[in-house]
Symmetry: C2
Subunit: 146 residues, 2 copies
């Protein structure tokens, strides 16, 4: 229970610090940054809205509101799927790409400062192993037990 | 970077699973549950709104909206501070206490299932050590380096 509370607190403190940096230097909230990153890493810089919601771990309605805001800022546009009349893509614009490039230095320095610089390489390896266990699908045997 | 992404994903998956259990069985979102827990653990089951916001890691405005909702449901009441005319406490009601008791079994089983049961005692110790490093105040020497 203590470990679980520390996990929640570490998440809250780190995301608050990272978002603080992004807001102060680029007026970009963390969820907006995450959407731009997901799009730049996707083929043709676009993703179906449903896949994007999963990737950034937002509800469908939460993502709709966020993409509305990014579209008003000119960072993203919506585009119909040619193969699926009802589906929509979110597409990164050139302005969105430029904004992400500006902000990414801040964000990577933040991850270095608040996360990586505090951990030794043993810690990082241990953390990845532990997080891997937490993310295993139930009932799916791990490589070790196979 | 990989470890940081796994950390974000583990947080998102675990809180979604825990909130899913609470919503399905008790119609109680996770932030509401957190507020009730903070209050039950406080002297006289009450906390200043400012302290409560820090404890549950919400903004002042986010907490105000959440306490509005809990007050409408009869789980919490606001009460003026006698020593500070402008301050307000949030106080857990008997109905709030009863609701928390109902929900806590579900939540503790969820933490056991999604978190504790997946980790050995070595993992828990390693995780606490690592999270402790992430939560150290910058510039404050740790016990080990003193």
């Amino acid at each position: 229970m203590q470990a679980w509370r520390a996990f929640l607190r570490a998440h809250a403190v780190l995301t608050r610090n990272l978002e603080g940096d992004l807001l102060r230097e680029h007026e970009l909230p963390l969820p907006s940054y995450d959407v731009l990153v997901q799009l730049v890493e996707s083929p043709e810089r676009k993703l179906r809205m449903t896949e994007l919601a999963d990737a950034v771990m937002l509800s469908r309605s939460g993502l709709t509101r966020l993409v509305d805001r990014l579209e008003r800022e000119g960072l993203v546009v919506r585009e119909a799927c040619l193969t699926d009349g009802r589906g929509l893509y979110a597409v990164l614009t050139d302005a969105g790409y430029a904004r992400l490039r500006e902000a990414s230095g801040t964000h990577l320095r933040g991850i270095q400062r608040w996360f990586a610089a505090r951990l030794g390489s043993d810690d990082v390896a241990a953390l990845q192993r532990i997080l891997g266990r937490l993310l295993e699908e139930p009932g799916q045997p791990s490589v070790l037990s196979a």
